[in-house]
Symmetry: C2
Subunit: 132 residues, 2 copies
Amino acid sequence: MKYSEKLRNSGLRPTRQRLQICEVLFNTNKTFHFTINDLSEKIKNQTSKKISLATLYNTVHAFEKKGYLKQIPINSSQTYFDTNVTDHHHFYDLKEEKLIDLKNSDVGPINIHKKINGKKIKSVEVLVKLED
Amino acid sequence: MKYSEKLRNSGLRPTRQRLQICEVLFNTNKTFHFTINDLSEKIKNQTSKKISLATLYNTVHAFEKKGYLKQIPINSSQTYFDTNVTDHHHFYDLKEEKLIDLKNSDVGPINIHKKINGKKIKSVEVLVKLED
DNA sequence: ACACTTATTTAGAATCATTATAAACTACAT
DNA sequence: ATGTAGTTTATAATGATTCTAAATAAGTGT
C-alpha cells in the first residue's frame, strides 16, 4: 500500500514533504529511534529537497497522534521518537546517551495490580538505565 | 540526624539555602513529585528568604547526584523529580498531567533477561500511561 | 482546466526551561 | 583573623520547541 493512500486514509493530505518523511522513517524493515534533529539530518542527506523544521515538528506530531510513531519517555534535552510502535521497552546507556531496544521477551510480562477509577491503561513502558 | 551533618557527610557544605531546601523536600513523611518551578513556589510560600533559581537548579542536581532525589523519566516540558528514591514506579495520567506513585507490590517483579557487555543495570523504571 | 475552499508549509519570531558566566559571598581549615 | 575553595546570585546565553501569519498546494465542484 502506498504511503499516499495511508496518509489519505488517516485524514492527512499526502504532500511532498510528508511522503519524503515517510520514506525516511518507514521505508526500511528496521525500526529506529530518532530526534527531530536526527530526522532533519537524514532528510538533508538522503533527499535533495529540504523540509523546514516547522514541518518536521508538525508532521512528526501528526504521525504520533495517528499512532505511526511513539514518543519514548526519557529525560533528555531532545525528545526521542520511535518508529517501533509495538509494545516494547528500552535500555538507556547513560554514558553513551544511547537507546537500545529490548524485545518484549527480554522483559517478563508486566502486570499492574492497581486500578484508578475511570482510567484505563494506555501503555506500559519500561526504561532500564545502564551504567558502566 | 540533622541535615547539616548529612550534607557535610556527602561533601556538600550546609549552607542556609541547602538547609531550607532540605526542609521543604525532606521534612515530611510523605514523598512527593515536583518540578523546579514547584519547588520555587514552595520556597516562596513556606519560607521568608528567597533562593535564586540558579541555586535551586544547582542544589537539586547536587542532591540527585548524591542519590537524595530521582529524576522521573517522562516527556514533559519540565523535568520532574521525586523525593522517593526507593525503587518504585509511576502512573502518568495523560489528561490531568499528573504523576501517581505505584508501590512495588502493585507491579510484579521485573526481570530483565538481556545483558549488554560491560554495562550493569542502574535502575528499572516503569511508566504506565493512563487515559480516560 | 478553472475557481474556490481548506489544509499545509515556511521563515522567522517568540517562548520557556535550563545552563553558563563571573562577580560577590560564605563556610571552614589553618 | 586570614586564605581558599566552594556557593550563591543576577543576568545573559542557549537551544529545543511552539507560534504566527503569509505563501503555497491539495482537494472539490463546476
